[in-house]
Amino acid sequence: MSILTLENVSKHFGKVRAAENVSIDIREGEVFGFIGPNGAGKSTTIRMIIGALKETSGTIYFKGEDIKKSRRYIENISYVPGDVNLWPNLTGMEVINFFMKMRGFKDVEMRDALIEKFRLDARKKCKTYSKGNRQKVALISALLSDADLLIFDEPTTGLDPLMERVFHQEILAARDAGKSVLLSSHILSEVEKLADRIAIIREGKIIETGKLADLSHITRIEYILSSEDDLSFLEGKSYAHDFRTEGGNTHLMVDNDKVADFMSDISSKRITYLVTEPPKLEDIFMRYYEDKS
């Protein structure tokens, strides 16, 4: 079952085509990663979903219903923007309570547990909060809801790694509770750990959708290795890219769908050091455009 479906949704701001024929489909109980560099159109797409922007063309369905039919669908979506602004004169607790009241969500124990987990000092006024703390207030408020779909727009930009982990746990917990999650990011590795499926957007257009594993034909991983043997033969291999030696180590990017070939090629060598770097969005785009041309 799909919870949210976008069909050829476009948004134009004058000449700027912020989103162009975007079609995505988010299923019930999955975490969906929405990935693209800055300015790709992620926030624009999300803001059309929550009704802040009106789509220029195309249709959005929530649980199979065209959202233009009734605004009530919004009651089932919890949303956290990339840049959180709160009411400066309210304390964090007052904001969280306000959101709970507005949503008719009454679980005070869950509230206190989340505040504890995110280590938020909720007694302080919001104007004294850093970006990360404001983000925490918004994330906690969004999690305290009966909504079926949670939307987070670049949620971890202000969080430290520890809090990012807490956030990831909460996302997975929400999914296990049957909720669906739309998670946007410009960092692939962040979404990769969580997302069941991803869509990649660039310049307003979706260029790939699917399971990350299935996208191995467009991903590439960087390997850093050193060996007592000569590795320069790798440079000529078709799966190897950006070959270079640096500080005695050999760096190269390997196409994900050719890892087996690569491994058998180096199996006879005495490898003394091997590190991999997770795939980066830029690398995906590099490969995507190389394949196209």
Binding site: K54, N97, R103
Partner: protein, 524 residues
């Protein structure tokens, strides 16, 4: 980008708008005066009109010199323009100062490597720069016009006086921003000082000008531009430097976001369970300060009503008009004029409350609260209706408090013949004019986020027509574009319920149209 350029960019639009309005009024009105008061006869007549306590309270004392066109210009314009330059200074200083701090922008800049000193020095420099520009435009403009009797010293003093006045309130705002705990509080206090100083000098100018000297407005008066051209009264404006330095003293010694004096800061967690509750809480300080200010304005005006009689008998033009039957009751005529002016002042908080919708929108809080929330508890409609009702309530209560203040302060004056009931009817009558302005505001807001700003031009226009329309004859067309044209002058004449009802219905229709558009348009 340097921090200074960032600051300048942040306020660029607002500063340009303000400068256009402020300098446009000064430079634009000089030829109008030249036109209207050029002959000896016209000058004598306007001098006589203004030589009475009510007008002295409103625009300042007459200079003890030949009343030339230029003298008349500076006499009628200077204090009023000073009030506007003061508001300009306060708004800009508060937005780059305390407001930026409240919003966390300052912290962001400091974490980005901008030192506290650079930050503050740049805020001060911005204040100097924008007021310097105001000075240059006014001085150059007045000089280039080359009107007769507008001498160079006068142009210099007029322009420098206003620029320094604006700068004074700019620095005062930085100072209070460093002292107090929020932008709202800073705005409330500095605006109160600006208004109270005006009201104070209104009273003392009438009673004994020697006491007025505490008020910066009086320094401008005492310069007597185009008459005595007394440059020594620029000296008290050295206070600009004092406040700038005192502000630095306070700012440099406290934490970011800290304060020496806190507003009512209780640590108890309040339960805010609805949007109206939240809106009220966010605007509480602003609403209360404005309402208190309106009451004080009413009291101040009321306190001069006792002198109205006396001045009318001593005023040729008025007496002539009374004899000719043009004005039935000159006391009523003045009271009515004051009512119209206070109506426009009350429109300011009413429009500000509507404008706060945009703050929710621009910070994206509106769309965040909207999602995941029951439609019955939060929607764009609810937000706009909440602000609209609050705005109308503040307008009505503001009018009632103003007229109540007038009534209380003039109770001992015998022959006024305006009962409390008349005042209340007048409040209701003119309240509909504010509702109309608010309605136009909502319509603009519904059309687009950016267009809303234009409502301030309209309020300024209403003020200009209401204030100057009584001193200077303006074409009928200009009056027709304000709601006052349609309303009966209550206190002078009987209330016209149909007209008031019509204006109010128009106001509601404008609101409904704005709401309809607002529900559909893209946010921020």
């Amino acid at each position: 980008m340097t921090h200074f350029r960032l600051l300048a960019k942040q306020v660029r639009f607002r500063v340009i708008m303000w400068l256009i309005i402020l300098c446009g009024m000064s430079v634009g009105f000089a030829p109008v005066f030249d036109d209207l008061y050029s002959t000896e006869e016209e000058l004598r007549s306007i001098e006589a009109t203004l030589d009475n306590p009510a007008m002295v309270a409103l625009i300042g004392p007459l200079p003890d010199a030949a009343y030339t066109t230029a003298v008349s210009f500076s006499h009628q314009m200077l204090l009023f323009m000073a009030l506007l330059h003061g508001i300009f200074g306060i708004l800009i200083a508060n937005s780059v100062g305390r407001k930026a701090e409240d919003d966390g922008l300052t912290e962001y800049l400091i974490s980005g490597g901008v030192s506290k000193r650079t930050l503050y020095v740049n805020q001060v420099m911005l204040g100097v720069l924008i007021n310097l520009i105001a000075f240059v435009i006014n001085y150059a403009g007045l000089s280039l016009l080359g009107l007769e009797s507008f001498n160079n010293e006068g142009n210099l003093l007029y322009s420098a006086g206003l620029a320094l006045f604006g700068m004074l309130f700019y620095m005062l705002t930085l100072f209070f921003g460093a002292l107090l705990s929020s932008a709202d509080l800073t705005f409330g206090i500095t605006l109160s000082i600006l208004v109270i100083m005006f009201l104070y000098r209104a009273v003392t100018d009438v009673a004994d000008m020697a006491y007025s000297v505490i008020s910066p407005y009086n320094w401008l008066t005492r310069m007597y531009p185009y008459a005595e051209n007394d440059f020594t009264w620029l000296l008290p404006f050295l206070l600009v430097a004092v406040f700038a330095l005192a502000g630095w003293f306070l700012f440099s010694r406290r934490d970011l976001g800290g304060a020496y004096l806190k507003g009512r800061g209780d640590r108890r967690t309040r339960n805010i369970g609805s949007y109206p509750g939240l809106a009220l809480r966010n605007m509480r300080t602003m609403i209360i300060s404005w309402l208190a200010g309106m009451f004080v304005i009413g009291l101040t005006y009321g306190s001069i009503f006792g002198d109205l009689e006396e001045m009318i008998s001593g005023n040729e033009m008025l007496s002539a008009a009374v004899e000719a039957g043009a004005i039935d009751d000159p006391v009523m005529f003045f009271i009515n004029m004051i009512l119209i002016i206070t109506t426009v002042i009350t429109a300011i908080p009413a429009v500000m409350i509507i404008g706060r919708v945009l703050r929710e929108e621009n910070t994206a809080r509106l769309e965040v609260v909207d999602s995941g929330t029951l439609e019955s508890r939060f929607s764009r409609t609810l937000v706009l209706v909440t602000h609209w009702i609050l705005s109308l309530l503040v307008a009505l209560i503001g009018m009632v408090l103003t007229t109540l203040g007038m009534h209380l302060a003039s109770m001992n004056v015998d022959d006024i013949g305006v009962t409390l009931g008349d005042y209340m009817l007048a409040s209701l009558n003119y309240f509909t004019a504010i509702a109309a302005a608010v309605g136009i505001g909502v319509l603009l807001l519904g059309l687009s986020n950016g267009l809303f700003k234009l409502i301030w031009l309209y309020v300024g226009y209403m003020f200009f027509v209401a204030y100057l329309g009584n001193l200077v004859e303006l074409p009928e067309m200009l009056h027709m574009a304000t709601p006052f044209h349609y309303l009966e002058n209550v206190t002078v004449n009987e209330m016209d319920w149909v007209a008031a009802g019509g204006v109010f219905i128009a106001a509601v229709v404008l609101f409904a149209a704005g709401l309809f558009l607002y529900r559909k348009r893209d946010l921020g």
